[in-house]
Subunit: 379 residues, 2 copies
């Protein structure tokens, strides 16, 4: 498996495509647009040594979409005609599979391999890929492939080294089991790729990793942390809100990124200014004055304030110094206080990891989600 | 220029490194960690045909950091020792440049080219890169290079095809000017890369693009939209808040991603549930009942409610159907109402672009920022 990213320079792109044509499957994304710097089709055809042709049916289909866009933008269709012809040009022998935007998914066979070109915009790519999967050409390729089985372990709060030692204690990887360990904020994602016949060995490795690090394990499936937390709350009939200072809405944004979040998540008060902490979350002025905005006391008042004001069962708060400015000796950049309050109790957490602004905010958001998980599963 | 992404499989990684060694500069990131699947150094040495050695000074430096981590995690240092030795192993002739986490930046010359290996975690990579830039080896390489000049145009709300036509009218790219056009949500990012001697031609292209699409142009520099909006408000002494339903805190999160946002941005009410829209933003129950949560009327009430409740000069609201569920014939997935209210007036916007949830939310967040920009610059 190999992923190559090249710019729009024709010689770089053509070299990468030539190399890709040597594989069983070459997936290309991007470069199918209407403009001159979209060169994928032209260079694929050249690399494969086949001529190009204008596909009339495809041209007609793209024209329908482009006329709609032209109308919406109140521009003459003539502005689009050249781009439409460009996007309807295919290598001989290629077929197109669906159209979401104005760029089609294109499939064609080359030697013993298969080439799939998909549009670059994620929405179009994601919508067209299932249709490509359904094609007989891709199905035939998949029947020849023997994908490894995959096992997934997700830990929170454990060190990479500790898990590496468990893996070594279990004999390390190899012998049909390939193990990847990836640190993501405070989470550790461990994936086992298991060749046919190696499942007993995979189970032994998995058992060792789980036994040594059980209190850190939070999932044995591929699931986003926000989705997992929403599921735990939903099962228990609990609603959730957030009160955010340094994360500035990031926790709420991650929660609402999950479809159907609305039956659990009610909302958030993003209290960036202290006045908002006082007025909207009811943090007492005395707490702010005595302990400061970044303190365990303010975090507790924020969580309880959100719980009460937004009328939810569980609320989690985050307040900290995200930097790069604003740090002091007593309260350095990276200091973050979190607090979760629910019907069965409360939990507080202090983080103290200097880092850049984005990392601090992102880690704090992950920690907030896990604090809710811990409050709910282990009150 | 070429970017290659490979997994941890040794043969893939080694092949990519061998290829990279043929370039003037090979930058590698990742694979410098303490675990068995971090193979960059070992395979770089093999590809370059040089032996490995343990660097004692580096080992001592990593040990200091690792002992600190061990202490914080309350684990014996013995757990880390093997990983430390691994991370302190370098190809002969290589030197290390700084240490942020436990993985060093490594620089070494190979034939006429230069190899730089950086740790994968973005925080470490970003902190170490400036130190690599300062090395004499890299400075010497840069003196040999002649980077093209770059000009930047940022449009909002214009079609890719329209800009492509302007470019064609200006004679297209080539002759020392390379033009890339990239659509990002509703923004269009146009970059001109100008070879020495081609600046007159670049100016002519730029002038044509600006003249044809002036009302869509919002920046001629590389600047994030949130940062640009915060700057416009700061210049005018105005404060900002958001009131968010379908974006669920995303607009606030983008604003607070910018360092120093706090002197402009006060906070946000994320009103995901209708009860929160009524109680926290003062949206009248009659408006919600008559027009629904996704309506121009609710958007207006949300923006004005946030302005009043959070005591800010300008507030922007977003309410829409992000999907995939919840759409109706009258209010389909992708329908989003936005409203901005400020001291000098108000502006409303309706979006109606069916797409996946992430795209709808992300586009709505971008549109909210631009609505504030337009309100402030063209009230």
């Amino acid at each position: 498996m190999r992923i190559t990213v090249v710019g729009d320079a024709p010689q770089d792109l053509e070299a990468a495509l030539r190399e890709g044509l040597g594989y069983d499957l070459l997936l290309v994304s991007g470069g199918l647009g209407p403009t001159h710097d979209d060169r994928t089709i032209e260079l694929l055809a050249r690399a494969a040594g086949v001529p190009l042709h204008l596909d009339d049916e495809l041209r007609a289909a793209i024209e329908v979409l482009s006329r709609r866009v032209a109308e919406r933008l109140r521009r003459p269709y003539g502005d689009f005609a050249e781009g439409v012809a460009k996007q309807a040009t295919l290598p001989d022998g290629a077929s197109w599979v669906g159209l979401v935007g104005t760029a089609p998914a294109v499939v064609f066979a080359h030697d013993d391999g298969l080439v799939v070109a998909l549009p670059g915009p994620p929405r179009e790519l994601q919508a067209l890929w299932p249709r490509v999967l359904e094609t007989e050409a891709l199905q035939a390729l998949l029947r020849r492939a023997k994908p490894p089985d995959r096992r997934v372990l997700r830990f929170y709060g454990v060190s990479e080294s500790a898990v590496a030692r468990s893996l070594a204690a279990a004999g390390g990887d190899g012998d049909g089991v390939d193990v990847t360990i990836c640190a993501r904020e405070f989470e550790l994602h461990v994936d086992l790729f298991v060749e046919p016949g190696a499942s007993a060995r995979a189970e032994a490795i998995e058992a060792q990793l789980v036994a040594d690090n059980e209190r850190f394990l939070f999932a044995q499936e591929e699931v986003g942390t926000a989705e997992l937390v929403l599921g735990l709350l939903r099962e228990r009939g609990l609603t959730l809100a957030t009160a955010e200072s340094c994360t500035g809405g990031l926790v709420a944004a991650r929660l609402t990124d999950v479809p159907g979040a609305s039956d659990v998540f009610a909302g958030s008060i993003v209290a960036y200014a202290d006045e908002v902490k006082a007025a909207q979350l009811g943090v007492p002025e005395t707490v702010l004055a005595e302990h400061g905005a970044v303190s365990a006391e303010t975090a507790a008042a924020m969580a309880n304030g959100a719980r009460e004001r937004l009328g939810v069962d569980v609320a989690v708060s985050v307040t900290g110094v995200a930097g790069p400015g604003g740090g002091t000796e007593a309260k350095p950049v990276g200091l973050v206080h979190l607090h979760a309050a629910g019907p069965a109790g409360e939990r507080a957490l202090q983080l103290d990891f200097p880092a850049d602004r984005e990392t601090i905010r992102s880690r704090a958001a992950v920690a907030a989600l896990h604090l809710v998980r811990q409050l709910v599963t282990d009150p």
